[in-house]
Symmetry: C3
């Protein structure tokens, strides 16, 4: 949304100085701001950075004295706080999803839609599926047979839920998420004649997502071989994450972008798996464990709250010991050189 500096000052309860007619449409940090942006500074120690900003307007505290290069200044008690309020004003309005079913949605007659559900254009919902009250199923979504989506859950466009998937209430499922794909499971070996065979193991289970879970764009969570792959309540999953079949995530955990959890692994309560980390299959991670970025965890971690890094993942101390090795070796080499000289002298004596 675009607004003049004067209008914005009025909305923020601030005092305008300079050209109140300048049009503003976004918030930008002092260094990245462009013409048309509002920036902000609370502390005079950034005066040099302020002097270089390209923002058209700036939020400053009441006692700021130095010159600023912006067309307009808005004086406020707390520039950080006012900036957050301005960001809400500039934010693209969240699309309104008035309850109702788009005429192009293909919904099987057996589907049970709750009250005040929204279903967008070209969405497909197959038989025996139930959608809870107030849920929003956006455009171009595919929901297979026998699924359940909880009340007030928001499913963004182009998500797929394969048959039997269960999603709790108050969840947010971002674009391109794939729930319930077949787990990766094959039997292989050799026929009596020596030729290789590879046989698919039927993936007979489901995916179940607890209440209040958020799942980021293009993340994939596979259905269980038998039973359920489970993501517990309030777990927050970022983009492009892989959750293998039969994984159990107790709840209240975070999985950051591009991390992966292999099949049948159990993650305790309140864990944090950082970006690009990988956790092997068939292991258990205790409550509150943190796995650092790009770490690889080959074995169970039994100690609650432990922080591990590296591949294979270990404590910070153990990783540091390896990175210090070159320095230690260099010191040892000079010691040994000196000793050799001493011993040669002694032998000569």
């Amino acid at each position: 949304m675009t607004i003049t500096a004067s209008e914005l000052a009025a909305k923020l309860g601030g005092a305008i100085e300079g050209d109140g007619s300048v049009a503003l449409s976004a918030v930008g940090g002092l260094e990245e701001a462009r013409p048309g942006d509002l920036s902000f500074c609370k502390d005079v120690k950034y005066v040099k950075i302020v002097a270089g900003t390209k923002a058209s307007a700036i939020l400053l505290p009441l006692d700021w004295k130095d010159h600023v290069p912006c067309a307009a200044v808005i004086r406020v008690d707390d520039p950080n706080d006012a900036c957050m309020k301005a960001a809400e004003i500039f934010a693209p309005p969240a699309p309104v999803r008035t309850p109702g079913v788009h005429p192009t949605a293909v919904i099987d007659p057996s589907v049970k839609l709750g009250k005040d559900v929204y279903v967008g254009a070209y969405t497909v919902i197959e038989k025996n599926t139930e959608i809870g009250d107030g849920a929003i199923i956006d455009a171009q979504v595919f929901i297979g047979e026998n699924c359940r989506v909880g009340a007030k859950t928001l499913v963004y466009p182009q998500v797929t839920l394969r048959e039997g998937t269960i999603v709790g209430k108050d969840c947010i499922i971002h674009c391109g998420v794939r729930l319930g794909g077949d787990g990766y499971g094959f039997n292989n070996g050799r026929h009596p004649d020596g030729s290789i065979f590879i046989e698919k193991i039927p993936q007979l289970g489901i995916v179940e997502i607890g209440d209040g879970v958020e799942i980021g764009s293009n993340t994939t969570i596979d259905r269980a071989r038998i039973g359920r792959t489970y993501v517990g309540p309030m777990t927050k999953i970022d983009n492009l994450v892989q959750v293998g079949h039969n994984v159990k995530i107790a709840g209240y955990s975070g999985l950051i972008a591009q991390s992966g959890i292999a099949g049948s692994t159990q993650i305790g309560m309140g864990c944090l798996i950082w970006a690009q980390a990988g956790i092997s299959g068939h292991i258990k991670i205790a409550d509150g464990v943190q796995v650092g970025p790009q770490a690889g965890v080959p074995q169970s971690i039994d100690e609650p709250g432990k922080y591990v890094i590296g591949t294979p993942a270990q404590s910070l101390r153990d990783v540091a010991a390896i990175s210090l090795a070159p320095k230690m070796i260099s010191k040892l080499r000079s010691d040994v050189k000196e000793l050799k000289a001493d011993v040669a002298a002694l032998k000569g004596a």
Copy 2:
């Protein structure tokens, strides 16, 4: 599917004890099972874990004597075997795709559909494409011009095949797979005036997928710069895998989740690339090589069947040598300290 313990016992040929009316709808391991689940135990050594299970019913061997906390017990000869049968009973029924074309599918008149093909709602198939007998093209799929999809291949919802892509028979392509995107290729340098230029290199080839290949959710396989990116028969690819342009995978290999293979690399027969591993471009990997999780392979591997780990990928022995370094250094430091004392004493003598 929900079924009573008595009905299940009858289907499994087992004997019911306790409350046969208890409703069951899933299989769960002893520790994860919830009320409504069936669990199983074959061996009396797990008696303590059995004592804590929350399962409503349990499959036990005929000679089990200890108390169990479940409402119902089903006695069978082989609890593991019976459990697999129960899992099949509970499994969400696979959706039936009766041959036919959904009226909303947009299919160019030049497209050749085989016998008994299924095409789902809102799928788009462009001109000159051929779909083999018995293939299932699910809802919301996009298949570009001049593609060929083999007999009995199953394409799940929201897959895209760019123009010219060839998929063999008996393949399974999971949701969100992208076949035939442009390979990453640019010429860059500087104009005579010093300004940078970046020019796209036309990606003129195709993707060809052999028979019996399975490709996991949201995996991407790029079209060749010229010729073909090739995934050989019976290769099984997991979720979120990247296969670059002009890669050749001979066949019968496995690529686990989030692994990536850079452009023009050749993978031999029967290789296994573990999760999050990366293989550089323009190299060759011999038959039967295994690349460990998160390993990074910068150079060709000529030795068939070699197992490598780490980045840069090397043998287990070489990686172990590095991880043992801190311990070795510690030992060396105490040796050197002792030697210094000895030498000092000798010099003093």
Copy 3:
């Protein structure tokens, strides 16, 4: 496209020898080529590889004398050059997108479509969005409210642009790209009663993509918390890449497959982030920096043009020092052993 060797020779201005009626449909390297392929060789030093090729026809220089196993030979001045021309002839024809809106597209009346725009089947474009002249919005795309897509930009099938996203002109957005998903941001802590809370931080900003940017299949770029996530002009992003909220990429950079950039990080001009590399949040990367494959960058890199590898990312020299540690330690151990013997002898003397 399939063509006979004679027809191809005529198109390339070459001289045909052998069976000019053989049908050709693709280019293949000497080793991978199959019957029906055209291969090529410029240099007689590959004569043995030529002798084993399965190609049906081959491009050879005028002075090539050795026997070849192909049905047809096409003599040309420059086989490499002729091969590129042949690849263009064989390439699946790029689909023609004649300007116009498919009758099934659901486009809000408030949307402003430029001149000569193409909109494919089942695409959804929501209110107040603007599409520039000559843009191609392919089938099954979702473009939310208040977006802007620049002139001549090509959006492949099954892309999603959430509300407020801005894409420049001359961009290419591949299948499955997700622009404008919510950034990963949560406040968490404990209630006075000790229970955990996790609250979503509103993501009020947008994604802005500069001119000439290409974004690979299934890549995700999150909207800013406030302000904009920015991808500068001519940046080329590969498949399955993650760009976090509030990241700023100055321009002319390359992000290779499966790499990830965490929130609020700034990437200078002309950087190259190799495959599977990860860059932490809230740091700055100087112009021209290269981050090696699988590297992990925890801290800002201030030195323009620096090349870093490893996790934590460091110079090639520092990484080499660690990988040399086992060899150095082995040498030290033999030195120390020798010294001990010498000292023991001296003490005994």
